[in-house]
């Protein structure tokens, strides 16, 4: 059989972000994945840092000095906190949704179609508001008057 040339049209990571004109849940999906990768990076750094204690106090102090600067204090730490809050709150929604809660029962498709996305959207709004409140409280602690 003659092998014909084809063009690989896979979107790859552009499929997470690109295209535009998508639904809100798709952007939350992307945010969840990006914050998840950010938290993974933080945990690796965290393990590296705490491991340094095994090499004595000087190693530990040297590492702590490296991560105590204003860039870590006012940029990376708030980012880790924000990622943790958003990933955690949205994770609660995903656990519920992926166990079949809040997606509704199958129904006859009658135009205009209402999908499970419409059913779970109040839950999504609720967790995003909760995340916003926790982020605001955390923001006061990070950047508030006491600092």
């Amino acid at each position: 059989m003659v092998e014909r040339k084809r063009y690989d049209n896979r979107l790859g990571f552009w499929g997470w972000l690109g295209g535009g004109r998508w639904g809100f849940e798709r952007y939350v999906y992307t945010l969840h994945r990006v914050t998840g990768l950010g938290l993974l990076g933080y945990f690796l750094l965290h393990i590296l840092l705490t491991t340094s204690r095994a090499f004595g106090e000087p190693a530990w102090t040297a590492w702590m000095d490296r991560v105590s600067g204003p860039v870590f204090r006012y940029v990376f730490e708030p980012l880790v906190f924000a990622a943790f809050v958003i990933h955690g709150m949205n994770g609660i929604r995903l656990i519920l949704v992926e166990l079949g809660f809040a997606v509704g029962k199958p129904e006859d498709p009658v135009y205009p179609y209402r999908t499970s996305l419409n059913k779970q959207r109040p839950l999504l709004v609720a967790v995003m508001i909760a995340a916003g409140v926790v982020l605001a409280i955390g923001g006061v602690d990070f950047f508030g008057m006491g600092h």
Binding site: R4, R6, Y7, N9, Y29, L94, E98, P106, T115
Partner: protein, 284 residues
């Protein structure tokens, strides 16, 4: 006599010829179409009046066969089901590209073979383990309307592949089964006549199966038939979890009628169904 309104639109079409081109390129056509014309009508107009070399796939022209899925103005849609006026961008521009996440065969024709292979992998038919196809000819499986409601929404799928194209997970994981096959796996698992739960769990309950879905929900947004694959996949995951926790047991629960259903007797003059042309074997 009513006046037909004529629109002048620019079609920006992604072209690719496997024997000539290294990679796809965009080509523009300016055409005149009538109000109410679909994107597929516009492609026909281009072929008839401007460029007979343009390739695309279509069949029924009425949103039933699922052949003419394309990326139209940035979103996966059926060309026959989409009016040009709905998708105009920058005034009078329509962009038409082949469905992404599948190889391009030529111009707007994607290779959907991987989609159908994944569909076949989830065994999209009633499985009665150990039983023959039709154990007692002349009798029927009994099913209540409530049992039918559990899966009937997912039977409207036309296998157009738009959900696979919209799914961001399938964009990065070619091994992911994808929304359509997973929704069809649930369609049969939820069917009280089916006994193939364990068989399908081995395929759909894996790392590249239902658990790979993280509910971006775009499959349900783009489905032209309102099938809602995202809902089916979440319900499928619930079935897997409840089964793992031994809360539910899956077996074909439907019973057979003891004879022909009352009122369904054959009318005089209607011929008998032809004999089976294949040997009946137990399905596994």
């Amino acid at each position: 006599m009513s006046e037909t309104r004529i629109l002048e639109v620019v079609y920006r079409v992604r072209r690719f010829h496997p024997e000539k081109d290294e990679k796809p390129y965009w080509q523009e056509y300016t055409i005149q179409v009538e109000k109410g014309a679909t994107v597929l009508d516009g492609l026909h107009r281009i072929r008839e009046t401007t460029d007979p070399t343009l390739s695309y796939r279509y069949s029924c022209r009425m949103g039933v066969c699922g052949s003419c899925g394309m990326l139209i103005s940035g979103k996966p849609r059926l060309a026959c089901n989409t009016q040009i006026e709905e998708v105009l961008i920058q005034g009078n521009l329509v962009t038409v590209a082949p469905l992404p996440n599948f190889d391009v065969v030529k111009d707007l024709v994607p290779d959907l073979a991987p989609l159908f292979e994944k569909h076949r992998a989830v065994r999209p038919h009633i499985l009665r383990e150990g039983d023959a196809l039709d154990p007692e000819p002349g009798t029927e499986w009994l099913q209540t309307p409530q049992e039918l409601d559990r899966y009937v929404q997912f039977t409207y799928c036309i296998r157009c592949g738009l959900c696979m194209v919209a799914c961001p997970t399938f964009a990065t994981d070619p091994e992911y089964l994808g929304p359509m096959p997973l929704a069809q796996a649930y369609r049969y698992i939820a069917d009280s006549r089916d006994g193939g739960f364990e068989t399908r769990r081995e395929i759909a309950g894996t790392a590249h199966g239902a658990y790979r879905c993280h509910y971006a929900g775009e499959c349900s947004n783009v489905c032209p038939k309102g099938v809602d694959p995202a809902r089916a996949i979440q319900l499928l995951k619930r079935e897997f979890v409840l089964s793992y926790l031994k809360v539910i047991r899956h077996r074909g629960k439907a019973s057979r009628s003891e004879g022909p259903i009352a009122g369904a007797e054959r009318k005089a003059g209607v011929p008998e169904a032809p004999a089976y042309t294949i040997e009946q074997k137990p399905l596994t």
